[in-house]
């Protein structure tokens, strides 16, 4: 044996231990990895933007005295009964089926106490949800599970879902473990099957059809309800423009950080764009059509704090939606449950096997033994607290920028920390008046 030193073991940057583990998992199981949540990769995000604050050239508002309003109107373009929310942080669509009945109830309670709306999902409207939600948005999805005109009329708004950020171009998925008797009945499906929702609507194709479909929904509801169109962050300039052209009152834009109940990991991680890159394109479309602030823009995908809310609004959004953050507020992935997450082969903070229906927090499950653990009143209170904190944080920043309404935040209040964020958000790199692409095309 030589006395020369050996070359030390060197891991491949391409075939990392995680990559190799996935190859072995695929080889052993013969099926792609399915999981819940949104992308876990590092992306340019709101953290890469900063507020400038006021100084001599702009003066701030007194943090504890001067008013900074937070309310928002949604659906003022065509609806006879637009929605008025106290805060611009809404709860995104999440289905009964993906979530337990008590979890849906908690979302309704928390949202209502905080003065905002919650949203149904790919499973129809439940009584728990309608009963506990002061303002409820009813999703109109390709699957049309549970769709009926009575629920359309008792909703406060209708959201035509074209796509979602976690999987633009993909449909829903709910595996057999979660198709309980009640879920099966609501969806008119056999119990225990792996249910795949369609990726396209069954009765319209393309923007011209969408306009006619929106017309039908307006006729059915006598032009009362605001009609939202939800798109995944894929081609936000054109999709926003087409949604506006089709007659949307509100455009909901979901970036790839947006979560899902269950989808292929390859889809979650490799399809779609980060929300930071989506917002300026959508705002550009609204402005080009003379519709900014007339058709409202709700953005979602990785909103976590009042700072994120303020940054999204400074970029031109009218409101935001939260999903994953709301579930964490309810108790999802709580370290107090670490022992149980370990038993499932995961750890608190990383648990994403929501499709298996074994959530120890009782949120992403249909198992009565598990969802009984979840207290919807306490969960609702926690969500309300969190929403209030986010709002206070956003107000704090807005006042520091001299704004008496969150909607008065503007791109000029921001700077970017990285070239990537500057290019995507079209916000000057800190210390400069320049961002990549400035003066050029889209």
């Amino acid at each position: 044996m030589s006395d020369f030193p050996h070359t030390p073991p060197r891991f491949s940057a391409t075939f990392t231990p995680a990559v190799n583990a996935e190859i072995r998992r695929a080889a052993a199981s013969g099926i792609y990895d399915i999981r819940g949540g949104g992308t876990k990769r590092h992306l340019p995000h709101f953290d890469d933007l900063l507020f400038l604050g006021a100084s001599i050239s702009r003066y701030p508002l007194e943090g504890y005295r001067e008013k900074c309003a937070t309310d928002v109107w949604l659906g003022t373009r065509h609806a006879k009964k637009p929605i008025h929310l106290d805060i611009p942080v809404t709860i995104a669509g999440m289905s009964f089926g993906a979530l337990s009945g008590p979890a849906k109830e908690a979302l309704g309670r928390g949202a209502s106490e905080a003065g905002t709306s919650t949203t149904t999902g790919d499973g129809g409207m439940t009584e728990e949800e309608r009963g506990h939600s002061k303002t409820l948005v009813y999703q109109y999805l390709p699957s049309r599970y549970g769709m009926n005109p009575d629920d359309l009329r008792r909703a406060d708004a209708i959201e035509v879902v074209v796509g979602q950020g976690a999987k633009p171009g993909g449909g829903g998925m709910l595996l057999g473990q979660k198709i309980s008797d009640r879920v099966a009945m609501m969806r008119n499906l056999p119990k225990g099957i792996d249910q795949r929702s369609a990726c396209r609507h069954p009765d319209w194709t393309g923007p011209d059809d969408l306009e006619i479909k929106i017309g039908e929904l307006r006729e059915i509801t006598d032009w009362e309800k605001p009609i939202y169109v939800k798109i995944g962050g894929a081609r936000p300039y054109y999709d926003t423009a087409l949604a506006i052209k089709a007659g949307a009152d509100v455009v909901v834009l979901d970036g790839m950080q947006g979560g899902t109940a269950a989808t292929q990991d390859v889809f979650i991680e490799h399809v779609g764009m980060p929300i930071l890159a989506c917002i300026p394109q959508a705002v550009q479309a609204l402005q080009d059509m003379g519709m900014h602030r007339k058709v409202q823009l709700i953005v979602s995908g990785g909103i976590r704090s009042g700072a994120d809310v303020a940054k999204a609004m400074a970029l031109g959004a009218d409101a935001v939606a939260i999903g994953t953050a709301a579930l964490i507020a309810l108790g999802d992935n709580d370290p107090a449950l670490e022992e149980e997450y370990q038993k499932l082969g995961s750890t608190a903070g990383a648990y994403d096997d929501w499709h298996e229906g074994r959530d120890p927090a009782g949120i992403t499950t249909q198992d009565p033994e598990l969802y009984k653990r979840f207290d919807p009143v306490l969960g609702g209170r926690r969500l309300k607290n969190y929403l209030k904190v986010m709002t206070l944080e956003a107000q704090t920043i807005a006042r520091a920028c001299g704004k008496n309404h969150l909607h008065n935040l503007e791109p000029e209040d921001l700077c970017a920390l990285t070239m990537e964020a500057a290019a995507m958000a079209r916000i000057p790199l800190a210390g400069t008046d320049w961002y990549p692409g400035k003066g050029g095309g889209m």
Binding site: I31, R144, N188, P202, D203, G215, E216, E219, I220, D222
Partner: protein, 229 residues
């Protein structure tokens, strides 16, 4: 008889007037003239009225219908009677694509042909087509019955669940997981009733049909079925 001139009075006025009816109304006979292919005629009805449209309709005629019986003396555009809950819709002519899409109940009768995706994602509706149906019909059909006196196009019943499909003529091809099934006495009985309801009992006999349904092989993921997905 309430007579409504759609061209003169407008769509919003028509649907608003029909929505204002409740279950106790004695205004049970309605006719609409001059439809001229308008979209969303008589959508979201919820009263046991009889409404006849004299002429052809555009998209989504009778969408989400409950209780009402709607007759179209002409042809119907895409999405006819989409998501119907109950009642009946009878079209004398042809229907464009997605007729009866996601329908949850009631009866849809098309006396001419239906285009592609007839009965897509149907969830309990009964559909009787006197003529032929186009490709991808009954795609992901969940429940209910589709009766076709003529032929069916490509990929009939692709990825369907528990819906029953009865076709008298030729089926160009079956979609993934759709197979021909045994016609048992209870199916003949059901078919006889559907033909009667569909105003087709004089046109065909139950024994002339074949039954198609789900092989149920795709109900749970199995890598050996990957080529079907």
């Amino acid at each position: 008889m309430q007579r409504f001139d759609l061209e003169a009075q407008g769509l919003r006025a028509l649907n608003a007037a029909l929505h204002a009816l409740n279950g106790q109304t004695n205004e049970t006979a309605w006719e609409v003239v001059n439809p001229k292919g308008s979209h969303s005629i008589a959508v979201g009805l919820d009263a046991p009225i009889e409404l006849t449209v004299h002429g052809s309709t555009g998209y989504y005629c009778a969408g989400m219908n409950k209780q009402a019986t709607i007759r179209v003396k002409g042809s119907a555009g895409p999405g006819l009677a989409e998501n119907m809950m109950s009642g009946a819709v009878i079209v004398d002519g042809n229907a464009s694509q997605y007729a009866g899409a996601t329908g949850r109940g009631g009866l849809l009768v098309i006396k001419g042909d239906a285009s592609s995706r007839c009965g897509v994602s149907m969830k309990g509706i009964n559909i009787v087509v006197h003529g032929n149906i186009g490709h991808m019909s009954a795609f992901m059909a969940q429940s209910g019955n589709l009766v076709v006196l003529g032929d069916a196009g490509d990929a009939l019943g692709d990825s369907l669940y528990e819906a029953r499909l009865f076709v008298r003529g030729a089926v160009k091809s079956l979609g993934a997981d759709c197979v021909e099934k045994e016609m048992r006495p209870e199916h003949l009985e059901l078919l006889a009733d559907l033909l009667k309801q569909g105003e087709a009992e004089h046109l065909a006999k139950p024994e002339e049909f074949k039954r198609y349904g789900s092989a149920r092989n795709l109900y749970n993921f199995n890598i050996d079925n990957a080529s079907a997905y």
